[in-house]
């Protein structure tokens, strides 16, 4: 594989969720930490769409925030285009222009007091890419690129529907001419027919501008439709990474299999959905060893003691002791 555009190694993020100091002293409590992500490593090649899926609380959005620099990681490194980012110092401006983010809620991510033209031109102004006249023209052009009218620059966000707002958010993300866009649940707030429009638009833009996406979603069918490779998260750890289409036909990790079994499908294949056992545990006190072991059908003693390390599989990699046993047997 060529030099990856984004490389993430051992990314960990802990949140301090302790009680206030006085309560801790009186009640003799230890500090408490919530581990949102533990030891997450993956690479994204140029031009590909890498997706992260997982249930609520599995740490999908925390990874997105760390990648774009909205949250400093507790440990681990992020390398973008061969340049390691010093997370303590923040992301240097020269790199910052090259990645952008699209958020989930298009009602919260656009400033209601700004005109659409100003919203789209803000990154251009911030990075000093053009003079104000050109920036205005560029905003109008970008609106047409995303399927709106150039005359919309003078309107306010409240004049648009959810799908149209998400198009505006995409136009804003494109305005600094980024190479890499982090999309955090870009269509979860939209209706299916509008979702189809936005997903098609994202694909067209990827072909046109050679973009690389990190797509975060809980919707497995959206992920399958959009991505080249998929990473599956469980309680902050990557349990499996695989090529998108293969993940759905030959899932390796027991959690991936369980997740796929649970998805309702339009295909009416007649398969009886196997109801998943149990729920995602509390991330403040995750089970020891493999975090999935209390729900896993293949559990054995070793899973309760040791955290499994990622191992190569025919379709990517997976972290599971049961797979090791098969490989060594």
């Amino acid at each position: 594989m060529a030099e990856p555009l984004l490389k993430i190694e051992g990314l960990t993020r802990r949140f301090d969720v302790s009680k206030p100091w006085l309560n801790r002293v009186i009640e003799r409590d230890e500090k408490q930490f919530l581990t949102a992500n533990a030891d997450v490593s993956f690479e994204i090649a140029k031009g590909e769409t890498f997706a992260l899926v997982g249930e609520s609380g599995s740490g999908k959005s925390t990874i997105a925030k760390m990648v774009v620099g909205l949250l400093p990681p507790s440990a681990g490194t992020i390398t973008f285009a061969g340049q390691t980012i010093d997370t303590a110092a923040g992301i240097p401006r020269s790199l910052r222009r090259r990645f952008q983010m699209i958020f989930q809620d298009p009602f919260a991510s656009l400033n209601p007091r700004w005109r659409v033209g100003e919203i789209i031109a803000e990154p251009i102004r911030t990075f000093g890419l053009m003079n104000p006249t050109d920036a205005r023209k560029e905003a109008a052009r970008l609106l047409e690129v995303v399927g709106l009218s150039a005359n919309d620059v003078t309107k306010f966000p409240h004049e648009f529907s959810g799908g149209q707002r998400q198009r505006i958010a995409i136009a804003r993300a494109l305005s600094s001419k980024p190479e890499f866009i982090v999309c955090d649940e870009p269509t979860s707030a939209l209706d299916v027919s509008v979702q189809a429009q936005i997903l098609n638009l994202m694909r067209d833009l990827q072909d046109e501008f050679g973009l690389t996406y990190l797509l975060i979603s809980h919707d497995l069918s959206v992920v399958r439709h959009m991505s080249t490779r998929i990473g599956v998260l469980y309680l902050g750890r990557l349990v499996e990474i695989a090529q998108a289409k293969k993940l759905f036909t030959e899932p390796q990790h027991p959690y991936t299999r369980m997740l796929l079994d649970a998805v309702p499908d339009l295909a009416l294949s007649g398969r009886r959905r196997r109801a998943v056992e149990g729920e995602i545990p509390n991330p403040i006190s995750p089970p020891p060893g493999c975090a999935f072991h209390p729900r896993c059908p293949l559990v054995h003693d070793r899973c309760k003691r040791e955290v499994p390390l990622p191992r190569p599989t025919p379709i990517g990699q997976a972290a599971c002791h049961a797979l090791d046993a098969v490989a060594t047997a």
Binding site: E55, S56, V194, F248, P264, R273, A275
Partner: protein, 331 residues
């Protein structure tokens, strides 16, 4: 054919606003048979939840039922007085809402809420009601139900709370359960558990279900028949399998094509141009005509009525009206 359990005829719900009256539902008609699961799908603003709220008499004023009738086992329930309605609500029609956190009272234990509901509708002692409540919690899959019944709602996770809400909806043994987006707030792995519980327990007790959701996958696996709403009107009703695989209405067809599936190979999703019209700007004729590829002359002037076709299917589209369709220039 048996008599329908619930029959809705030409239901119109209006909301008077400063800028004129908005019609949230415009002559909606459908039936639910005893023991049947009817799915109700549509995009935001299509009128799914309003239909549910109208049936159970929970339309918030100034909204009102302006015309039409709702019959439960032949008896009209849309014009009842509040006291009479309260006897039906909960007792004969149960309701499961989307957000399990807001549909439980945080200040009362689960036991108190269940026992209160059971004793309101069924004449029995406190101890008897408690026994029923425990059995019900056990049935909806709450582990150690006898102990957990005395917990408060915040002690339960989202999926467990929704199980409690289902128990609450079913505790008076209703004939019909209206489930409004019961799994939308939940993760997929929990969603499948909840749908399973809802489906099994209703089948066990012979309760019919009206399942309101925007998730076609859930409908495909749960419902017997499905009604597709668009801009406050029924576009199509029919058995689930037929509606999904060979939709009659161009809107339904576009909707099905726009959903990514786990097996398809195509690179692009079907795209319906535009968006659903606002309620104050519904076009004349068929509400879908500005977005429809196959619209022809009558679509712009006359509203199509629901036509009954073979196999229990109904569709509101001029393309399926033999008299009108002969005018279509291309077959």
């Amino acid at each position: 054919m048996a008599d329908p359990l619930l029959s809705v005829r030409d239901l119109v719900v209006e909301f008077p606003t400063r800028r004129g009256t908005l019609r949230a539902l415009d002559r909606v008609s459908f039936d639910i048979m005893p023991g049947e699961v009817l799915g109700m799908v549509g995009e935001s603003g299509a009128g799914k939840s309003i239909t549910g709220a109208a049936i159970i008499g929970l339309i918030e004023p100034p909204g009102r039922i302006a015309a039409g009738e709702i019959r439960l086992k032949g008896e009209r329930i849309d014009n009842l007085r509040p006291e009479a309605l309260r006897k039906i609500r909960g007792k004969r029609i149960g309701m499961v809402f989307q957000d399990p956190l807001t549909s439980l009272n945080p200040l009362y234990t689960v036991a108190q809420q269940l026992i209160e509901t059971i004793r309101t509708h069924i004449d029995c002692s406190e101890a008897e009601a408690r026994k029923r409540a425990v059995a019900l919690l056990d049935r909806v899959g709450i582990p150690a139900a006898a102990r957990r019944i005395d917990d408060y709602p915040h002690h339960f996770s989202g999926g467990m709370r929704q199980r409690v809400v289902i128990a609450l909806a079913l505790c008076a043994e209703p004939e019909l359960v209206i489930a409004d987006e019961p799994t939308t707030a939940l993760d997929v792995s929990v969603q499948s558990q909840i749908i399973e519980v809802l489906k099994d327990i209703c089948a066990e007790r012979g309760a019919a279900v009206m399942l309101i959701t925007h998730d076609m996958g859930v409908i495909a696996e749960t419902a017997d028949r499905v009604a597709v709403l668009y801009a406050g009107r029924v576009a199509e009703i029919g058995p689930v399998r037929e509606v999904i695989t060979e939709a009659l209405h161009p809107y339904t067809r576009g909707l099905m094509g726009s959903i990514p599936t786990l097996t398809q190979e195509s690179d692009r999703l079907v795209q319906i141009p535009g968006a659903m019209p606002r309620l104050n700007a519904i076009p004349q004729g068929c509400a879908f005509n500005p977005r429809c590829e196959r619209a022809f002359a009558p679509c712009f002037t006359e509203r199509p009525e629901l036509l009954a076709l073979d196999g229990g299917r109904r569709v509101a589209c001029w393309l399926h009206d033999t008299a009108k369709a002969s005018e279509v220039p291309h077959g």
